[in-house]
Amino acid sequence: MIKLLRIDDRLVHGQVAFTWVPSLGVDTLLVANDKVARDDFQKMTMGLAKPAGTKLLIKPVSEATFFLNDDKNKSAKVLILVNSVADAFAICNGVQDVRAINFGGLRAREGARMISKAVALTSEDEDLVRELLRRGLELEVRQVPSDTRQKLADLISQ
């Protein structure tokens, strides 16, 4: 069961390990990222940050989709972490069960506009967001569970 799909460019870090995992009660952290899946160093450091009692899986986006669609894994309580809107979009395309996306952190970068304290979107990102909204997905901006949720729809021009 997918508990949350979160976009966060730091992937596994304090907010995730220390607030989301316990608050959602997940037992599996699935990092869906092509680059990290090939990077042993990053895999090692993320393994260190893994909260006690959770399983950490690091897979390329396509394999992550496969994993999520596999009936064998339906009993796992999964928090999916991606580091870009495009990857989140790809997961949504591949996996029916995703109904909501949490925008946690996307740092300011060239061509991106800050739409909240911790989220910056490029115009390509905004196009994808609009498409996801059109499909009826619930998109929220929230860094930690105790923050007030903001609807992404209210923060971008439609």
Binding site: H13, Q42, L48, A49, R109, M114
Partner: protein, 521 residues
């Protein structure tokens, strides 16, 4: 009076200067409350108010760029108004909560505004002008204490008279009601901690902590010590020797160690890292703090402005991690910068790659250990003493947190520099991290479990029959079951995604009405 106001303003500014003081929890109400009390000639009251505030705000912690209510401004003003009007802790709490929420908005505004400095930083970096870079870092950092100091002073100077006159009109029954409401609200503080620590798997430890303090009346220190013993037994840690942090004696350099940096150069990274969060902003977070921490060693290896400019620009990239583990990354970056300065074909991009790769995991590890465990234990022990006006409370709080904090932070600087991420590989190969996190969870949860029993005094004055109090009957079944019940209920509602503001107001109402209707005391 203006002189006292100035002193109180200084206390608030000291709290806000924590960003220069290694995020060492000196800004917590448990510390600032006594300082305000001392200024106003009532240390005892200050300690007790600080403890009550700490309980409510205990679960509000800064993780990543998520900014909690500004308890510094709220706490200092609330405490000051309460002592000035002679109305006590209840009023302090009632004032601190709304003030904190308002002040947080100002600070968020500042963190947005600071991003505007990024252009200035970029210009200084471009010119390799490290002096201006450092000045900007310090200057922007000073904005927060200055701004909030001005707010506190104005609030006192303009509002204290009116506030005092208003607060003095509060009738005793309202004050009693607020007092019960304040006690109830600590339930939210505890529930917020549970929200990040509690799960079915570790639930027994929570209840063990509760039972030890409710039936056996063990003080918080005893529960914490028992927790440590339990953790050692369960994780079998005592059999494996010392934890990884101490594995390598820090004064034995490895063979191939280049000697560009002296021990005091590396030490300067540790000290400079105290200002890591000084220029925190929403766009790039701790980037200039990182550069500032490395400045002395950068000066040494890049004497020309051109090379300095390259290094400064490199470190302007977004950076955010747990300040408590930051020195590990700083140490590693120092070693890589050194390599970069000596080798022509060194890929300087790799420095940023390592930084970016490490900041998330390091934040994950150290936020959990320091915020999630150590602070909880320190606050549990500290508030339990301070609630009775014992000055040892705030002192123990600072010591329990900061001795491990500074030892680890200092050691990590050298470990990072000398061992690089080989240290991490070593740790990841062993089961140290698993043991550490599960052990920490045990101690932390036992302390949190003891909190409803020891720190949240809510009872009922009802009588089942004339002369037979309901509370006595309840005590025979399970002492302190009322605080436990309210805490569990709050936790349940938190899990159901009810907003904290509603919960805070809800607990306030239940406590206040319960007191007025003589259901709760």
């Amino acid at each position: 009076m203006t002189f006292s106001y100035l002193l109180i303003t200084l206390v608030a500014m000291f709290g806000h200067a924590e960003d220069f003081l290694a995020t060492s929890l000196l800004s917590r109400p448990l510390v600032l409350g006594p300082l305000v009390g001392a200024v106003l000639g009532d240390l005892n009251q200050g300690i007790m108010i600080g403890a009550s505030l700490e309980l409510i705000f205990m679960g509000n912690i800064k993780v990543g760029a998520a900014i909690p209510p500004d308890v510094i401004t709220g706490g200092v003003l609330g405490t000051a108004f309460a002592i000035l009007s002679g109305q006590g802790a209840a009023v302090a709490l009632a004032l601190a909560v709304p003030i904190s929420i308002l002040a947080e908005m100002l600070i968020s505004g500042l963190f947005i505004f600071r991003s505007a400095f990024n252009k200035k930083f970029a210009e200084a970096a471009e010119a390799g002008d490290f002096k201006r870079f450092q000045l900007l870092h310090i200057g922007s950092g000073l904005l927060k204490p200055l701004l909030m100091g001005a707010v506190v002073f104005l609030a006192l100077q303009l509002g204290a008279g009116t506030m005092k006159a208003f607060l003095e009109t509060i009738p005793p029954w309202v004050n009693t009601g607020l007092h019960v409401a304040g006690n109830m609200q600590s339930g939210l503080g505890i529930a917020l901690l549970m929200n990040v620590m509690f799960s079915k798997k570790v639930a027994p430890w929570f209840f063990l902590g509760f039972l030890l303090s409710s039936f056996l009346h063990l003080p918080m220190i005893a529960v914490a010590c028992l927790g440590v013993v339990m953790a050692l037994i369960v994780t079998n840690a005592s059999a494996t020797g010392t934890p990884a942090d101490n594995e390598e004696p820090s004064d034995i350099p490895t063979q191939n160690q280049p000697a560009s940096f002296s021990k005091s150069d590396i030490r300067s990274i540790f000290f400079r890292s105290f200002t890591l969060e000084a220029n925190f902003n929403f766009e790039t977070c701790q980037n200039t703090g990182f550069a500032y921490s490395l400045m002395r060693i950068l000066k040494k290896i890049y004497p020309s402005p051109e090379r300095m400019a390259l290094a400064l620009k490199r470190h302007l990239q977004f950076f955010n991690t747990s300040p408590y583990g930051s020195t590990l990354i700083l140490g590693i970056a120092a070693a890589m910068e050194e390599e970069n300065s000596r080798l022509k074909d060194f890929d300087s991009e790799s420095i940023n790659n390592v930084k970016l790769g490490l900041m998330g995991p390091v934040a994950g590890i150290f936020d959990s250990l320091f915020w999630g465990t150590l602070k909880v234990i320190a606050a549990g022990v500290g508030t339990s003493l301070a609630m009775n006006g014992n000055a040892l409370g705030p002192l123990l709080f600072i010591i329990l947190f900061n001795v491990p904090h500074f030892v680890v932070r200092y050691q990590l600087t050298f470990i990072g520099y000398r061992q690089g991420y080989k240290f991490l590989q070593k740790v990841s190969g062993s089961h140290v991290m698993d043991k550490l996190t599960s052990g920490a969870a045990i101690v932390g949860l036992m302390v949190v479990g003891a909190m409803p029993a020891l720190l949240m005094s809510v009872s009922t004055p009802l009588e089942v029959a004339s002369g037979v109090s309901l509370q006595d009957t309840l005590n025979k079944i399970l002492p302190q079951m009322i605080p436990l019940g309210f805490t569990m209920l709050t936790y349940y509602l938190l899990k159901r995604q009810v907003r904290t503001t509603y919960l805070l107001l809800g607990l306030l109402l239940v406590g206040f009405l319960g007191s007025v209707l003589h259901l709760l005391a």
